[in-house]
């Protein structure tokens, strides 16, 4: 219910924040493996 009622700009901001954070988390995972291999 609530998400559909949010203004478009706010919805975009949420997706942008979440995507950025997910990319950071994945990068940290890959970096840890890379440091292990190095």
């Amino acid at each position: 219910m609530p998400m559909n009622h949010l203004p478009e700009a706010q919805r975009r901001a949420i997706v942008r924040t979440a995507a950025t954070l997910a990319a950071i988390a994945f990068a940290l995972f890959v970096y840890t493996l890379w440091r292990g291999i190095k």
Partner: protein, 519 residues
Amino acid sequence: MATAHHDEHPAGLMRWLTSTNHKDIGTLYLVFALIMLFVGGAMALVIRAELFQPGLQIVQPHFFNQMTTMHALVMIFGAVMPAFTGFANWQIPLMIGAPDMALPRLNNWSFWLLPFAFTLLLSTLFIPSGGPAGGWTLYPPLSAQGGMGTDFTILAIHMMGISSVLGAINVIATILNMRAPGMTLLKMPLFVWTWLITAFLLLAAMPVLAGAVTMLLTDRHFGTHFFDAAGGGDPVMFQHVFWFFGHPEVYILILPAFGITSQIIPTFARKPLFGYESMVYATASIAFLSFIVWAHHMFTVGMPLAGEMFFMYSTMMIAVPTGVKVFNWVATMWKGSMTFETPMLFSIAFVMLFTIGGFSGLMLAIAPADFQYQDTYFVVAHFHYVLVSGAVFSIIAGAYYWLPKWTGHMYNETLGKWHFWLSVIGFNLAFFPQHFLGLAGMPRRIPDYALQFTEFNQWSTVGAFLFGFSQLLFVAVVVQAVRGGKKADAKVWEGAEGLEWTVPSPAPYHTFATPPRIK
């Protein structure tokens, strides 16, 4: 007040399986955490029963090792972390005036990963090789040699990690994007602040654990030698990577506790929180320092003197922002018009007992002294003072504090006070003697011990059983409040401040569909 008129939702099992409502998901997390508290607690009681006297009485050493390992994994990842996430789900939207979490469907998935992860983890106790038995830290070479239970555990940790990272993303996205108009960052309640910082810790720490256990898995099955000295690898590297996750994890387990305490003490002292901004900066400082202290867990592996000095002093620096917090809680109570309802009692016990755990932490931080304390019961006493009388007491305090808001009923104060006193006495009886055992040289993670340690172990076991069984009172209080009782007002506590107290009790299914305006 802005409360949506429609609160229709599916009934029965489908409500809980498919819900994207932050209150439902918060309840799921809290119930799951309570169940895990009893599962992990039962394991603790197996450990304490075995240690009641020297010699092997009840369980075999291999099963004992499984109990110590599983107790930690269940309590950390199954009880404390989900309990705080439950609080976050219930309270953050209510406290910032948001209609829900920013990503409700992701929220549902974050929760539902957990029952599967823990089914997988607990199922290892029923497979022939048994569960993981090398300690929750999963150090190789022990973990590299363990049976299939270790592989199950690694997969379970991946699932818990994904759940935690998704939960953290949701919390950050919610706090940064969903605050009511006028609620600037420095107007947010401290619980929200501590969770924002915790979420960043989760985001930075959990992928590192995922990396460590992935390397462990490939060492076990795919011919790599990351941690295998015979193949050119380094088992100590696992310890470094693990504790780079593990120390921030300690603060993931305690920062939300600081937040809950910072909500409760002002309410029952009937004064605003002393030094709000310094609390925020102290929390951020602790979070930063948590990333540069990891090797204090491994002083004895051998590292350059400069390394020992760096990790010793950086660890001691954590006492400064933590001291600021303790000072501010005491200053909030100073000359306050205090009353001692159950949430306040647990919060005051939190401040006093957590401080004891902090002091023993400072003792452990002293590198030369740590050579004596390493892997003794002193360490066990230390981390139970910060995690039980710290994290768990604050969770209980928070549950009592917000229970009337969640259920619409006041809880039974008499039973609550009984629960408090039995918990405090049982807890101290269980864990204070462990300081002496450790200083006298009793190692941790052993099913048998030398005769001179008997008496303190017996006290400890009696205390542990008292503490464990007194938690049944908590279940009774919660069940009573859910089923009925005196009706709670919107503003349950006279001295409470904040948006959550402006909505009726119980909080309607949908709240703040129209955001409130903060002045």
